[in-house]
């Protein structure tokens, strides 16, 4: 590490290398944006305002603090990206309304006092999430 390999050479390699790979990443992001419409169910999102409203219900009750959604979140409670397919709309609504179970020693889900509209919105959001093309993840219906 001496002779021609000076600190300023090292610095230039750092700047050049970083810039090059950042540009490649931006190109991949550009390609990503072009391909997303075939995968992300945006037509559904545009035609049904309940989905965006449901996403807000999901966010403002901090569901991600216990559950995963497409595998991201906390690992304390079941995956919900595919819960619409696993349980169906009526079970989901009934389950949320029935919480907490108060079963001794079991993990407890709080009661969020959602209105019927909020429950419908949330279900619309889960239906939308379950139809996103996730390259066949999760491996099975259990999430």
């Amino acid at each position: 590490m001496s002779g021609t390999f000076t600190t300023s050479t090292a610095r230039n390699i750092f700047f050049g290398g970083t810039l090059f790979f950042a540009l490649v990443f931006l190109a991949l992001t550009f390609k990503n944006e072009q391909m997303l419409p075939q995968r992300d169910q945006r037509a559904q999102l545009a035609s049904n305002p309940a989905i965006a409203a449901g996403k807000r219900v999901w966010e403002t009750n901090q569901c991600i603090g216990c559950h995963t959604l497409l595998g991201e979140g906390a690992y304390f409670a079941p995956e919900l990206g595919n819960v619409y397919k696993r349980r169906g709309p009526d079970f989901i609504k009934g389950w949320i309304k029935a919480q907490p179970t108060h079963a001794p020693g079991r993990r407890q889900m709080p009661q969020f006092n959602l209105t019927d509209k909020q429950l419908d919105d949330l279900v619309a959001f889960f239906k939308y999430a379950s139809e996103i093309n996730t390259s066949n993840w999760p491996p099975n219906i259990e999430g």
Partner: protein, 458 residues
């Protein structure tokens, strides 16, 4: 201490350690809730404890980085800080914002907090790690900008070194990528895509620059090795970090609705991400072996070497374990992820902040190093925390492997909750390890208060 204004770092370090304690206590609550599900319910539901656990970590690491910068930059640039008063004011703003946010999490239902703080105006809440109310997020931006202004102005009037330049690039990157936390499209795939521009480009990008710069600074001080050698190492390490880590973001884009080419790009580039961490381990050991002086602060040297090893194990090895797309298909969103997250955050970022505190705190308290007794205690805390974190990681990994098997690989897959019931033993052992970690933390804090007797003079 060479420059009077370096003393502002003390505020940040003390604040950081205080939040560290909160983080660990809430971690223990969550660990217990994994096995005694209704523990503290409904007073502190799991999601609330988790917000406090992760947000306290983020804020105390940011405080640690800021404190490190305030200590390091005057010495590197050979000039007093541009405005020590601004630094102290920003500390209090940051601390009060963090404290109010935590109180909000604990005492107001989250939906109510969202309403009170104007989440309707610009919905940003309710996404993992970015749960903070809008006003807190704005507060973070204000504090970060004032901090960057202060540090940049100091650098402009002083000597320019590679270490301070790398640190500054890392800190600016931190602030810039945080801005993606304000972007929350209704489209879930795009939401997740750009969420990672904050989360991944922080921890596997610009934060590693900050980590490298702090480590390089401490290694120069404790080993006396030529600055030129250390700076070349630093540039080499961060070059490897960013050329692997930027496109390595792709390892989060396998299963969230993004195109399948990410499985190739993400797998290949993130498989290379351990290399810069391995280089960092070599760097730390090489420099200590070639040391030209025996610095009286043995504890700081131990933390620096520990950072090299544990960052490589936690971020490098445990990251590689589940980064290839065909493996990640089964491990995505399981306890394997939790295992990796624990050891990598501890090994890379917790340890580097503690390295800096270990080096700088005695000097700010008027001595080159702590008394022998205090150092022995600090080294005990190093081993207690580090070994218990290794065990936390191993138990979570075991739980994760079993979880993947029962829930995703078996011929008749079990449901999530039935699977969890099978993992109880590992979760108990993780909780016991967590208690040992807390004991280590208590010993660590205690070591600050047993400096009576002899201590090397500054």
């Amino acid at each position: 201490m060479q420059y009077k204004s370096q003393a502002v770092a003390k505020y940040y370090f003390v604040g950081a350690i205080g939040l560290f304690v909160a983080q660990i206590l809430f971690g223990l609550v969550m660990g217990l809730q994994y096995v005694v599900g209704d523990f503290l319910f409904p007073a502190i539901p799991f999601n609330v404890a988790r917000m406090v656990h992760t947000n306290a970590l983020i804020v105390w690491l940011l405080m640690g980085f800021m404190g490190s910068a305030y200590y390091l930059v005057p010495e590197e640039t050979e000039t007093e800080l541009y405005s020590p008063k601004l630094a102290i004011a920003m500390f209090w703003i940051f601390l009060v914002t963090a404290a109010l946010t935590v109180l909000g999490y604990l005492f107001v239902p989250y939906a109510g907090l969202a309403q009170m703080t104007g989440n309707n105006l610009l919905p940003t809440m309710g996404r993992e790690f970015l749960e903070q109310p809008l006003i807190t997020k704005i507060g973070i931006v204000v504090v970060a900008l004032a901090f960057l202004f202060n540090i940049s102005m100091t650098m402009l009037k002083g000597r320019k070194t590679a270490i301070s330049l790398v640190l500054l690039i890392g800190l600016w990157g931190l602030a810039i990528f945080f801005l993606f936390s304000f972007y929350n499209p209704d489209n879930l795939v795009k939401d997740k895509y750009f969420w990672w521009w904050t989360v991944h480009l922080w921890v596997e990008g610009v934060w590693e620059l900050i980590l490298g710069a702090i480590l390089a600074f401490v290694l120069i001080k404790v080993t006396g090795v030529d600055r030129e050698v250390i700076e070349k190492w630093l540039y080499m390490i961060i070059t490897l970090t960013l050329i692997t880590g930027i496109i390595g973001t792709g390892h989060h884009y396998y299963w969230i609705g993004t195109p399948e080419y990410w499985q190739w790009w993400g797998s290949i580039f993130s498989a290379l991400e351990p290399i810069p961490f391995f280089a960092m381990t070599l760097f730390a050991f090489n420099m200590v072996n070639r040391r030209r002086r025996e610095h009286p602060n043995k504890a700081a040297t131990l933390w620096a070497l520990g950072t090299g090893v544990m960052a490589f194990l936690g971020a490098g090895v445990w990251g590689f374990l589940h980064t290839l797309a065909p493996v990640n298909f089964y491990t995505h969103g399981t306890q394997i992820t939790a295992a990796h997250a624990h050891m990598s955050f501890y090994g890379a970022y917790v340890m580097v902040v503690l390295t800096m505190i270990s080096y700088a705190m005695p000097i700010m308290r008027g001595r080159a190093a702590n008394s022998n007794r205090a150092q022995v205690m600090e080294m005990w805390s190093f081993w207690l925390m580090t070994v218990s974190m290794v065990f936390i990681t191993l138990f979570l990994t075991a739980a994760g492997i079993l979880q993947v098997w029962l829930q995703r690989v078996a011929v008749t897959p079990m449901s999530f909750m039935d699977t969890q019931a099978q993992l109880t033993l590992f979760y108990w052992m993780r909780e016991v390890s967590g208690v040992v970690f807390l004991i280590g933390l208590v010993v660590y804090i205690w070591s600050f208060f047993c400096n009576s007797g002899e201590s090397a003079k500054a």
